[in-house]
Symmetry: D2
Subunit: 157 residues, 4 copies
């Protein structure tokens, strides 16, 4: 496996070199920490959700959806699901891949893969909703919408 | 709302007094902690998974499935999903309810509700698998199976 | 050990019944969760800091220092120390005790004990500072100061 | 600031280029995650302890003290202290530095610095004890001892 940069957008060329197939085109790598293990010495299920959350922030920045520098956007998690396929252990290097697979006016669905040593360790999905400060639903800004459509080619619903 | 004991099995009578409807018959209460909030001052999505994990341990003990006193059982999480319905804030008292809704030889599905101030704040579900120490699937012990069937009346698949 | 309420202020009478000695006069009880264990099946060091943080919020409310209902106060942690005396395991019931032992114009020092099954499992201390919204130091309000002095008899520096 | 690799040992040359002074000679870099923030949008105090824990594992590997690949060693945290000097926010890149400053037969003391944008954000220290599987104290292996002495020049007590 090539050396990869952590917490840095990984593009198609690097993902393919890591045996991560199409259609994944955006990834973020990191390594399992001691504090993410549970008493059975496997990665605890809550850690996967932290990884996906952190992935989304990198993704939102790279796609120009939110930059988190002036304010934390109100793109909130409405649903999440994870399939745990193979246990992960301390020190394992992994890549999270994610893409937007469907898009509505105020919400969108993302799908995720968690890869380590060329093996898909978990899959996940989320529904995210854009909110106004008063928690009412807000249409996704046009620039965000265009970015998601042009880069991830989601089903537009 | 009546005063309720935290981290203690709540039965049907208390659940109904808290306006938690049938078919829920087992609950565990607690209160939102500061460390469970995120930068938007809402409960972070990972906290819900910790709550469900802690709920399962109470449930496994009460149902006689595993007691965690001599060893940590290998009933592992295979899938999880959560629908976040209403945001929760610091200090909110909540009750997690859960029940087994379907049962196979080596696995079972649980459904969950998270309630606060009489409102359903989130729903969830999980698929759990019983493993041998070598990570191969193991049939659920007969006593565990009988307990789940008699108390929760799951669909037996 | 008597049954004790979790996340509820415990006064001198209950603390003494639990063999927790003078001068401790305020405690908060809870139980070790699975998610607080590390890969050695002991409570992870970060969990103790979460417990102390949660203790402080209960203490601040009970002492009338901050109620966290309208805004999160800017009483921030400036220093913390913990001595880990005896390992703790899953399901252990524990009581955190804490008191203010010295007081300055804008800051105060608290000392803590963590007790389980009549044994002192850890001790800790913290220095807390009251800040304005612009992060400059602010004098503790007179009511907070009086409450700390009358209840905990700290050294006034 | 030069681009730096995360979760990878940083040596003297890189540390100096980052304006981290002598005597620090070993560092690990990373970036603040959303899940590490609290409701005031600052890094929560528990996150610093996770960072120090993760630092120690990298340090133990690099110094040949423990590799965590076959078993998790019983070098346990006996005491910890942190001084929080300047608040840290989302996305901040930081470097943890650490060294062993004193050494006894079965225990040693480490000191830490947490640096971001050329500013010391926090300092910390820990006392670590080597244990046998029965939790009795064990002398540090000679190779570990020699490595700590030759690389960090601690006070030998």
């Amino acid at each position: 496996m090539p050396a990869i940069a952590y917490q840095t957008p990984l593009r198609t060329d690097i993902l393919r070199a890591l045996d991560i197939p199409e259609p994944w085109s955006f990834g973020i790598a990191d390594r399992v920490r001691f504090g993410e293990l549970d008493a059975l010495a496997h990665v605890n299920n809550t850690a996967y959700l932290s990884w996906l959350e952190n992935f989304r922030i990198n993704y939102f920045k790279d796609y120009g959806i939110a930059d988190y520098s002036t304010r934390i956007p109100r793109i909130v998690l409405r649903q999440i699901g994870v399939d745990f396929l193979t246990e992960m252990r301390l020190g394992a290097e992994y890549v999270i891949t994610g893409r937007t697979t469907s898009l509505r006016t105020t919400s969108f669905r993302m799908d995720y893969g968690i890869w380590s040593e060329g093996v898909l360790r978990a899959t996940g999905w989320a529904v995210l909703v854009n909110l106004n400060d008063d928690s009412s639903k807000a249409p996704l800004p046009e620039t965000a919408r265009n970015s998601l459509i042009s880069r991830d080619n989601p089903e537009v619903l």
